[in-house]
């Protein structure tokens, strides 16, 4: 292995391999007694990616695509039936130690802050749970809490120690949540819709804070979002998920301006545009993970199948019947689409003809 390859490998902080999560189907009492079984939901079905040091990766998709479930598995809040997670190249065994280094920032600051705890107690809680009484250089708890608050932009930190969450504004509460994550000096932060509940004018400040943590402290960040505009603002790479799979992943510039997968295009079409709303918008409801279609799981909603483009390219039968994984179609830019494969000149010849 060449030297540069080795460096590239050590650069990967977190690796997710072939993750699978199935939620058991539930039925009502009567149907249950009659022996009926609910259909299982395959929320995450073979998700894998790497996260590099100091990188911001956006996991994007609509409700039910499995993005939040993936985040919860990474956090160890959910046990996957399949797959593994590697932290700095080693499989995660000691969850407690791992959790110190990978911290989550939840989307609803009001819901994730205990209203009866002071800001000091909230931030110090993580330290106490992990049995940390002193910092690496023997600093007392108070100093660690103050440092975390200050890094999260709450300055001077002492001013906030004795306040309660309801005394803070929305933006400040989100900062406290971030401080609670920072106090353990994590390498990775997983942020689930970190700004979707905030007012637009306040959002930028929180995003700027996340950018700063990445630049100054080389913290890697996974941002879970439905908003590709947000991905454009902050992410280095974007992974688009659909029905439990990553259907496209690559550098943000490529994925968001030259998408390969029709679903990514569909998601881009719902980002509001000043030109007005007269553009094709995908019809139908968010997909149902209890009923995953055969073939490419996007085919029942795919505009390329509906318009006949897929048939013209001779791949429609494959779209309907042949499941496919991610293929690297441009450098570092992967997509799972039969049509994109053909367009990229990267596919086997059409099946049906000759």
């Amino acid at each position: 292995m060449s030297g540069s390859d080795e460096r590239a490998n050590t650069d990967v902080v977190l690796e997710v391999r072939n993750l699978g999560v199935t939620f058991e189907g539930r039925v009502g009492l009567v149907s249950g007694l009659m022996g009926k079984k609910g259909s299982d939901a395959r929320a995450v079905d073979g998700v894998g990616f790497e996260l590099r040091r100091g990188e911001v990766l956006a996991l994007a998709g609509e409700s039910g695509c499995g993005k939040t479930t993936t985040a919860r598995v990474i956090m160890g809040l959910l046990k996957p039936q399949q797959g593994e997670i590697l932290f700095e190249g080693k499989p995660v065994k000691n969850l407690r130690r791992f959790r110190r280094r990978v911290q989550m920032v939840f989307q609803d600051p009001m819901g994730s802050l205990n209203p009866r705890q002071t800001i000091y107690e909230i931030v110090a809680e993580a330290l106490r749970i992990h049995g940390i009484h002193r910092g690496e250089h023997g600093e007392p708890e108070e100093e660690l809490v103050a440092r975390a608050l200050s890094r999260a932009g709450m300055r001077p930190p002492e001013r906030f120690f004795l306040l309660y969450p309801h005394e803070l504004s929305g933006g400040q509460r989100q900062r406290v949540v971030i401080a609670g994550a920072l106090v353990l000096e994590p390498e990775v932060i997983v942020a689930d819709e970190p700004v979707s509940n905030l007012d637009a004018s306040v959002r930028g400040e929180i995003l700027r804070l996340l950018m700063k943590l990445r630049e100054e402290d080389q913290i890697s960040i996974i941002i879970v979002t439905h908003d590709l505009g947000l991905a454009w603002t902050v992410a280095d790479r974007v992974a688009v998920m659909y029905l439990g799979r990553i259907v496209e992943i690559g550098p943000a510039e490529d994925v968001l301006t030259k998408p390969l997968h029709p679903y990514t295009q569909a998601l881009l079409n719902v980002v509001p545009e000043a030109e007005g709303i007269d553009r094709p918008i995908l019809s139908g409801e968010p997909p149902d993970p209890t009923r995953i279609p055969p073939g490419c799981r996007f085919h029942p909603r795919c505009p390329e199948v509906a318009s006949g483009s897929a048939a013209q390219a001779g791949v429609e039968a494959r779209c309907r019947g042949e499941d496919l994984g991610l293929v690297e179609l441009r450098p570092g830019h992967l997509a799972a689409c039969h049509l994109a494969n053909v367009v990229a000149g990267n596919a086997r010849p059409p099946v049906a003809t000759s």
């Binding site: 609509e62 007012d199 950018m211 590709l228 980002v271 000043a274 709303i277 409801e285």
Partner: protein
Amino acid sequence: MSLLSVRDLNVTYRTQGGPVPAVRGVSFDIEKGEVLGLAGESGCGKSTVVNAILRLVPRGTDVNGGILLNGEDVLGMKPGRLRAVRWTQASVVFQGAMHALNPVQRIGDQIAEAIVIHGRAGEREALVRVGGLLEQVGLPPRSLEHYPHELSGGQKQRVMIAMALACSPDLVIADEPTTALDVMVQAQVLQLLKALQRELGLAMLFITHDLSVLVEVSDRLAIMYAGKIVEEGDSRAVFDAPKHPYSQALAAAFPTIGDDRFRHKPSGLGGDPPDPQAIPSGCPFHPRCPLVFDACPTIVPELYQAGAGRRAACLLVEGALVDAPGTAE
């Protein structure tokens, strides 16, 4: 005559913690067939404006100013007249309104009820009309027979839109109509509202915190801050080249994908929207304003003319300080 004319509207809630001035002198007009987008963040008073127009504010709330709907004074209407006007002249689609559907009544009957109550048709005729309405909002006619729990969130919001259209109003007020919906469904509902608006020549007052959504559907935009309109004008012009520093910050919060100016550069304001009970002196935006100067804390800016068909309440608008009282220069 404008379809809706709001003049110097002031709304003050009475609370145990003292009076809360939520709306402080708001004026605007909506012409027939026109869509006005009202933008602003939580607590800016935009929903209070809606509630005041339909007189849905809590009893004891002070509402002053003029609200003329088709030339008729809404604030002076007797309760019976008010009930007649709601739904037939102006109707509302609320945020999360789908939760307002009666869970034990069929969809068709719920919509028909509104038509019958307002004397628009008899029961049988009403049900026929409901079938047409459901088709118009993109639901299969058999949805008539369904109960609310059998529908998805997006479908329920479509039912609410059908209901808002049931008595053929001239004005539909949409207060965060898509906020609780999933991204794809949100775009579908927006597209539907815009199509219906065009087809039926409806006037709309569209309210949301999401400026980028408003630009898509509105002809004109008004941006509110701390209970006042701080900028108004043609929607594209306001979004592309906002004059007020607050509008500039709001517009910058909605990035254009592919535009390098937004790439890795999140922009936002420090601070938070003000507490309506402690509104800063002078220009209420001055503590957060990146362009603040010495006159801002003392002079309350009015809406100054800022180009053709545009007004902005900022002392930096050309000529503003000449008009402003108390500045002898």
